[in-house]
Symmetry: C2
Subunit: 339 residues, 2 copies
């Protein structure tokens, strides 16, 4: 591998001139520029990012913190981040914390040790104190999950309103016994969505039953399935379920099938996120669509702005209620056939 000195030598110019050609400086005559480019070609030279990055004290790497890569919600967001990052000549360092503080610290070190220029945190279990501390000297954006007190800019949706609308949809279909499958109140989104659930019940004069709220602790199909098993053990079974994640909803659907109950006739189900797989369930899952791609790309834009010292503002993106077969049956409100 040749370096800039060899190129300079071959082209008969100084390293500074080579550097100028590499960085498209306009103070190079086209003649020398051509000579340099020939030399670059002849030596098959590629500038080393190690040298350039040290000199520029940047890594052009963005750290993306996610709790769990298996949740399809994240990869749509990641796609948005990557696309935008690439457009600005950044690459992403994908870091799965598994909500493990040790791993989290390893990843935080990447930014303190200059290996990453900034962080997009999507981890609801992130150590917010450390993050807040870090944000004093480093560019950080919170994506989807956030803490307002940290003062760290975020992009998210209105979780409470979205949940409210989901539950209201169930109520409008005539349901009065509506269970909530939640993950864990330690997550902000979980608290907010629960708040929306409670508010919707209250606003429609439906009494809240504590037995209708089930906490799985984590996300994942099996947790949803287990939650549904518990719920179906109750003497007075709910007629509808709101699950705070499609993953939980899909697991719950499976249990309902296993018990040979009909969806939505016996039990209606609505999830949250609109992951791709929710289009494939039987029946197709009603859910709340999050603008995952936009969320990722906005977060990336905000982070890059922050890195360049600009101020950014919090963003609340719109969500969309998807009324589909798992609540509506095979027809929608207008009586049109659904699959």
């Amino acid at each position: 591998m040749s370096n800039i000195r060899e190129v300079a030598h071959k082209a008969g110019v100084s390293v500074a001139t080579v550097s100028r050609v590499l960085n498209n400086s306009d103070s190079v005559t086209s003649a020398t520029k051509a000579r340099v480019q020939d030399a670059i070609h002849a030596l098959n030279y590629r500038p080393s990012m190690l040298g350039r990055n040290l000199r520029n004290s940047e890594s052009r790497l963005l750290l993306v913190l996610i709790p769990e890569i298996s949740n399809p919600f994240y990869f749509e967001v990641i796609k948005g981040i990557e696309e935008t990052a690439l457009h600005h000549y950044y690459n992403i360092l994908l870091c799965e914390t598994g909500s493990d503080p040790i791993r989290e610290n390893i990843y935080f070190d990447l930014v303190t040790s200059k290996m990453a220029d900034g962080i997009i945190s999507m981890d609801p279990a992130v150590n917010i104190d450390t993050l807040t501390q870090l944000a004093k000297n480093h560019a950080i954006i919170q994506c989807s999950e956030y803490e307002t007190e940290s003062g760290i800019p975020y992009v998210t949706i209105d979780h409470e309103l979205a949940a409210y609308e989901a539950v209201e949809h169930l109520i409008q279909l005539g349901h009065k016994q509506i269970a909530l499958i939640n993950s864990d109140k330690k997550f902000l989104y979980a608290r907010q969505r629960e708040k929306g659930y409670l508010q919707a019940l209250k606003d429609h004069g439906i009494t809240f039953h504590e037995e209708y709220v089930y906490y799985t602790g984590e996300l994942g199909f099996d947790h949803g399935q287990r939650a549904m098993q518990e719920i179906l053990k109750q003497s007075k079974k709910p007629t509808a379920i709101f699950a705070v994640s499609d993953l939980l909803a899909i697991g719950a659907l499976k249990e309902i099938h296993a018990q040979a109950l009909h969806i939505p006739h016996d039990i209606a189900m609505i999830g949250f996120d609109k992951i791709a797989f929710s289009n494939m369930t039987y029946p197709v899952l009603s859910t709340v669509e999050q603008p995952m791609h936009t969320m990722g790309s906005r977060a990336a834009e905000m982070l890059i702005q922050t890195i360049h010292g600009k101020d950014v503002h919090n963003v609340i993106l719109p969500h969309r209620l998807m009324k589909r077969s798992s609540t509506m049956g095979n027809t929608n409100e207008k009586g049109e056939q659904l699959i």
Copy 2:
């Protein structure tokens, strides 16, 4: 942010000594070591990886090339890669090519420009000539998808045998009209799995019908669904389907439901990969399990070995046929109840 010079100054030693402490050299007295560590603490110093990496001419970053992050097959593999990488103090740069040569070249540049120490390629559409060329000077491992002529080490499964077993399973259940939903013959795995399909038919004296092979071009639920639509238009419908990917199989399942046909009574279905969703379909999808996590972690080990100049050998990992409800119905071979 302080640097090594300030630490040295504060501790009253040279930068060399600080460096020695940082790298756990044993030629430092515990007294000086303590002084240095105090200084590090007092200044909240973190060594810059930019400086270290330039000096060591390494980035400690591994580039992972995948075609499409949305395929859950990849993220299980990625988990395996990340875990192993982290264990060796490497991080991963996740790069989604979208099978776009332009993006691919951007990512290849990361290794020629020293931003990545090696590549794990999982992209079946990768430009194999470029990759082969690159492999002369850089550490590269092929994972799952591979080309033998390139001489680049790979870790994979026996796609042909796995497909053979899947189809044989259908035949043993009495099926004679077995369709193949394939992606595209430009992919090696697609050719190999098709070969296994053909061989199984041949070995069991079943005539091959060209109309029973459908190419989707790409992977994805919708492609599977569209394939199934086409297949069901035929006058002589198949009684069983082998799809080369769970994604295609799940899309196909949806179409079968939409046409109110029963699985497996009217049509049996077997997929490939055993992605997490395959446990959640209705009915549960029969499939071929790939050891995704192991595949990833072996690939990472091999790459790190290659980076350190060691020779590595190709690895063929075992697969496992999963006979489940979408072929067996609600009971297995022993008559045990399945869900």
